[in-house]
């Protein structure tokens, strides 16, 4: 006997994500899911951003192990929670829901969620976020959008970090943009250096223009 099902396999995660979204909206909190490969500069981007926008934000740090990133963020005096996935390659909506219970978010405007460093798995899991930001970096190469179209197709913004190292690598920015636009034609692409702070202003202006 055949049974028609037509159900999204990630339905359960979607339900949790919807609940998180309702929470964010109720708290008037703009939530930003930051995804990248390991070492692209997710933590550096969050820190550079926090230094500029001040203490109106909280951070959820996702890593397979360690509290290194949460400790770094903690030095800036903003509320931070570390999630250790214990091997899982992505954050899911249920993990975020649990982490939210441990954060005092009163009066805050932004919640940054730093996903596990990975360009494949996190793309599948809606966390309930308002926007998805992909961080890439010059040393990784200009072919990343061609190799990982799935994650780039879901982004509301792309930040290209380590722009100050451009002269050391054969990185073709036009090719990089073409790769992104082939799956996501209207997404803004910001060139920044979290080390020299070059270009961070445009990214922060974009962030400040977001409404929930």
């Amino acid at each position: 006997m055949k049974i028609e099902v037509v159900k999204d396999i990630l339905d359960a995660n979607e339900e949790w994500a919807k609940e998180n979204r309702r929470f964010f909206d109720g708290a008037k909190l703009i939530s930003i899911n930051i995804m990248a490969s390991p070492g692209a500069g997710k933590t550096s981007l969050i820190m550079g951003t926090l230094e500029s926008i001040g203490s109106c934000a909280a951070v959820i740090e996702g890593d397979i192990a360690s509290t290194i990133d949460a400790e770094k963020i903690g030095t800036l005096g903003v509320p931070v929670v570390q999630i250790n996935t214990g091997g899982a390659c992505h954050l899911d909506a249920a993990m975020i829901k649990k982490a939210l219970e441990r954060l005092d978010l009163k009066g805050l405007k932004y919640l940054f969620i730093e996903n596990v460093g990975n360009l494949i798995c996190p793309a599948e899991f809606n966390l309930g976020e308002h926007v998805r930001v992909i961080v890439a970096s010059v040393p990784e190469g200009d072919d990343k959008p061609f190799k990982y179209p799935g994650i780039f197709s879901t982004a509301q913004a792309v930040v290209l970090n380590k722009w100050d190292t451009l002269s050391y690598f054969d990185f073709d920015f036009e090719r990089f943009k073409r790769g992104i636009y082939s799956v996501n034609p209207e997404v803004p692409v910001f060139r920044v250096s979290c080390k020299t702070k070059e270009g961070l202003g445009d990214w922060i202006d974009w962030l400040k223009g977001l409404t929930y």
Binding site: M1, K2, I3, I9, A12, P149, S153, R178, N184
Partner: protein, 117 residues
């Protein structure tokens, strides 16, 4: 290895739909851009389904190609090109398929009441 999470979810959904009947086939639809590795999903399924009503069921996977539609001239094309519309050579496509990840249907063994007897 997010295929493990995905497979667990799939097994949960199928178990619910099967309502205690043994499952013989699961028909899945997976898009090229869904980020799921078929071999990994099949491996996880064998591990997770052991000792359940899904054990031994065959997984039929229908793959869906990633396709774009040009916003300017409506031409449809694959995602393996240079990012420009092959017809009008301008950027500005919209993804129209490739992110599917769902259970289309399942086949279960008939029980007496299913046969009306």
């Amino acid at each position: 290895m997010h295929e493990l999470t995905i497979t667990e979810n799939m097994v949960g959904l199928v178990t619910e739909e099967a309502k205690g009947r043994k499952v013989s086939t699961i028909n899945l639809v997976i898009g090229e851009l869904s980020g799921v590795v078929e071999e990994s999903l099949i491996f996880c399924f064998h591990v997770i389904s052991k000792g359940t009503l899904l054990e031994g069921a065959s997984l039929n996977i229908k793959k869906i190609e990633g396709r774009m539609r040009c916003r300017l001239c409506s031409f449809e094309f694959g995602i393996d090109g240079d990012g420009l519309c092959p017809a009008c050579r301008r950027p500005g496509g919209k993804l129209i398929s490739g992110k599917e990840l769902y259970i289309e249907s399942i086949e279960v063994e008939d029980r007496d009441e299913d046969r009306g007897g």
